[in-house]
Amino acid sequence: MKTHYEFKPLNIGRWLVWSLFALLLAVAPLVFRSGLAVTVLSQMGIAIIACLSYNMLLGQGGMLSFGHAVYTGLGAFLAIHALNAVSAGSLPIPVATVPLAGGLAGLVFAVLFGYVTTRKAGTTFAMITLGLGELVFAMSLMIPEFFGGEGGVSGNRVVGKGYMGINFGPPVQVYYLIAVYTFLSVAAMFAFTRTPLGRMLNAVRDNPERVEFVGYDAQKVRYLAFIIAGFFAGISGGLGALNFEIVTAEVVGAGRSGAYLLFTFLGGATFFFGPILGAILMVLAFVLFSELTNAWLLYLGLIFLVTVMYAPGGIASLIMMNLRVAAYGRLRELWVSYLALAVTALVVLAGAGAMIEMVYHLQLNSAGGSELRFIGVPLDAKGANSWFGAAFVLLTGLGLFELTRRVFLRHWGEIQEFIEKETKRKEAL
C-alpha cells in the first residue's frame, strides 16, 4: 500500500520540491533587502532547524519534551566559547564550522542526559525533561565561568581576513551560511525519516510493546533518536550564537523550551513540513507580533488551546486535508463557507481584541489617559459605551460563527464521506 505517488525512474517530485526550497533560501534576501528582513530570515533558518529537531522527538517519536532548549542552549554556549577560542587563535578551525562545534556539544549532552530521560516514555518522560531543563537553567546562574552570569558570553564572528572576502561581517553573509546549514540539516533530517532507525522510531511511537516483541529495544531506539535530535538542536544553537554574537542564560530556560513545543505543535507535528511552518510563525510572533500588541502571549495561548481542541494536527494537517478535498475536486464548493467562517471569526476577534486591549491599557499605561485606538477605532477604556460595544460585537460574532460552523461541518462531513466512498470504489476496480 503506497501512500504517495512516485515518478519512475527519476523521482521528479522530490527534485522539484528540494530545488524550490534551495531557490527560496537563495533568493529570499534578494527580495527582502532591509536589515530587519535579513535578521528575520536568519532567525527563521535557525528556528526551522530547532523545530524540526524537536519534532524528531514529538512527531516522529511521540516523546513530549519540555527541555529541548537545553540542547540548543548548551550548543550555543559551546559554540560561542569555540568562537572565542578561534578569535584568540587557540583553535585553528574556520568560523563557518563553529556551529558544528555547537552540534557536537548538543550531541554530547544528549548522550549524557538522554540516558536518564529516555528510560521512560509518555508523561513521565515529559516531567523528567522538565526537571532536567530546570536543573540546567539553575546551574547556568551558578557557574559564571561557563555561562557568563547575568550578562552572558559575547564573541566576535569576524576573525582575521576571512576566505575570499567572506569574513561574516555583513549580516547577509551570515544569512547565507545559515541558509546552507538549514538546507543541509533539513535534508539530513528528512533522510533520517526514511532510514530503518527513523521507521523504527515511528513504530516505537505507535506501539512500543509490539516493537519489544519483534526484538527491538524501544528504549535504545528512543535514546538514539534523542541523540540525533540533540545534534541538530546544537547546530541550531551554534548558528544562533554566530548570528547574535552573544549568548545569555535565557537560551536554556523553560520559556524557550515551551516556545519550541508550542510552535512545533501549531505548525503540525504529524507532517514533516509542519515544524517549518511553525518555525516561521515563531519568528514572526517573537519579532513582529510582539511589537503590535502587549497581549500577544495571551492571544498565542488562546490560539494554541483552540488548535489542540479542533485541529490536533496543526496547520500542516489543515493544509493537507484541504489538498485532499481539492484532489477530489470538491474544494470549489467550500469557499463560500470558508469566507463566512473567516468573516465571522474576524468579528469575534475584533470584539475580544478590543476588550483585551482595553484591559491591558488600563493595567499598563493608564497614566496617559483612558483613550486608545484599536484598528483605527477610538475607544475609551473607562467608558461603558466602548465596553458595551465590544461585548455586543463579540457576542454577535460568536452567534454568527456558531451558525456558519454548523453549516460548514455538515458540508465537510458530506465531502469526507464522498471521498471515502470514492477511495473504496477505486480500490474495488
Partner: protein
C-alpha cells in the same frame, strides 16, 4: 539543637505545602491519566483570588471561598476543553493543560498586574507560634507565642541565650495540610463517593454500567484537585509571596515530587514532598562549600583550586538544583520512584 528543630519544622511545613499541591496532581493523574501542567497555575489563581476575596470578607471566608471558585473553574475547564481532547490520547491532554498555563499566567498579569501583592495573613497568624529558648544555664525551654524580652536577654554575660521563633503561618500551613490529607484519605476510603471514584479508576466501564456518570465523576475529581491547589495557593500566597512567578517556582518542583514518589502513588508523593522540603530547607541554612569542607578535613587544596567557582559554591547556593539532582539519582537507581508500583 534548637536550630535543628526549627529547620526541621520549616522543612516539614514547606514539604507539606508541596504535598498539598502534589496530592491534587496525583489524584487527577491516577484518576484520568492526565498530567495537569496547569496545576501550579491553579495554585497561583488560588492565591490571587484569595487576596481579592480577603479584601472584601477577611481572610477566613477567603480561605473557604477562593478554593471553591478555583475548583469551579477547574471543573468548567475539564467540561469544555479537556473532555474534547480526551479521545486524541494523553499527549494532547497534556498539551491543552500546558496551553492553559500560558493563558492563566497572562490573565493573572492582566487583571492583577505584574508586581507582587500585599497579601498578609490575619493578625492571629502574624506572630510566632512558639519560641524555643536555649539558655546555657537552664537548658532548652518552650514558650507559646512570642517570648518576652527579659527571657531572651541574658541576666549576666556568662549565660548565653538564643531565642528561635517558629512562625504561626507555617504552623497553620502544617495543620491545614494534615487536616486535608486526613479528610481526603477518609473521603476516598470510607465513603460511597470514594468507592465510586476508586472503582472508576480501575473499571470505568463497569461503574458506568452500574449507573454512575463517569465523565461527571471525572469532572468533579478534576474540580476537587484544582480546589486543593487553590487552597494551597491561599495559604502559600499569604505565607510567602503572591506574584506572577509563583506558579513557575513551584510547578517544576511538584512534578519532581510526583516522579520521585512514584507516578500515581499518594503515599509516595507524601514521602517525596517531605524529603524534598526538608532537603531544601536544610541546604539553604548551611554555608559550606567543597573548599571549606576540604580544609576542615585537613586537606589543603591549592589556592588556584580554591578560587575556582565550583569549589567555592556553597551548599546554600546549590539548594535550588537539589530537587532535580535528587530526581536524576532516583531515576538512575530506582526508576519506578520511591513507592511506585510498576515500571513504565
Amino acid at each position: 539543637m534548637e536550630f535543628f528543630v526549627i529547620s526541621m519544622l520549616n522543612g516539614l511545613s514547606y514539604g507539606l505545602l508541596l504535598f498539598m499541591l502534589s496530592s491534587g496532581l496525583t489524584l487527577i493523574f491516577s484518576m484520568m491519566g492526565v498530567l495537569n501542567f496547569a496545576h501550579a497555575s491553579f495554585y497561583m489563581l488560588g492565591a490571587y483570588l484569595g487576596y481579592t476575596v480577603s479584601r472584601f470578607t477577611g481572610f477566613w471566608p477567603a480561605l473557604l471561598l477562593a478554593p471553591i471558585v478555583v475548583g469551579g473553574l477547574g471543573a468548567v475547564f475539564e467540561r469544555l476543553c479537556l473532555r474534547k481532547v480526551h479521545k486524541y490520547g494523553h499527549v494532547p491532554e497534556l498539551l491543552i493543560t500546558f496551553g492553559l498555563s500560558y493563558v492563566i499566567i497572562e490573565l493573572v498579569q492582566l487583571v492583577w498586574g505584574r508586581i507582587a501583592l500585599e497579601f498578609h495573613p490575619p493578625a492571629i497568624l502574624q506572630g510566632p507560634a512558639f519560641t524555643l529558648i536555649n539558655n546555657s544555664a537552664q537548658g532548652l525551654s518552650l514558650q507559646w507565642g512570642a517570648a518576652p524580652a527579659q527571657l531572651c536577654a541574658a541576666a549576666d554575660a556568662t549565660i548565653r541565650v538564643v531565642c528561635s521563633p517558629f512562625p504561626a503561618t507555617r504552623g497553620f500551613m502544617m495543620l491545614v495540610a494534615l487536616v486535608m490529607l486526613g479528610s481526603v484519605w477518609l473521603l476516598l476510603t470510607r465513603t460511597r463517593i470514594g468507592l465510586v471514584i476508586q472503582a472508576a479508576l480501575t473499571h470505568p466501564e463497569a461503574v458506568e454500567a452500574l449507573g454512575h456518570n463517569v465523565p461527571r465523576v471525572f469532572m468533579l475529581v478534576f474540580g476537587a484537585g484544582s480546589a486543593l491547589a487553590g487552597l494551597a495557593g491561599v495559604i502559600g500566597g499569604s505565607t510567602f509571596l503572591t506574584e506572577p512567578a509563583m506558579a513557575a517556582t513551584v510547578g517544576s518542583v511538584i512534578f519532581v515530587v510526583v516522579v520521585v514518589g512514584g507516578m500515581g502513588s499518594l503515599s509516595g508523593a507524601f514521602l517525596a514532598s517531605l524529603l524534598i522540603g526538608v532537603l531544601q530547607t536544610f541546604a539553604v541554612a548551611f554555608d559550606y562549600s567543597l573548599g571549606t569542607l576540604a580544609q576542615q578535613l585537613g586537606v589543603a587544596p591549592g589556592s588556584a583550586l580554591l578560587s575556582s567557582s565550583y569549589v567555592k559554591l556553597t551548599l546554600s547556593q546549590v539548594a535550588p538544583i537539589l530537587p532535580y539532582l535528587f530526581l536524576v539519582l532516583i531515576l538512575i537507581f530506582r526508576p519506578r520512584g520511591l513507592l511506585g508500583t510498576r515500571e513504565g
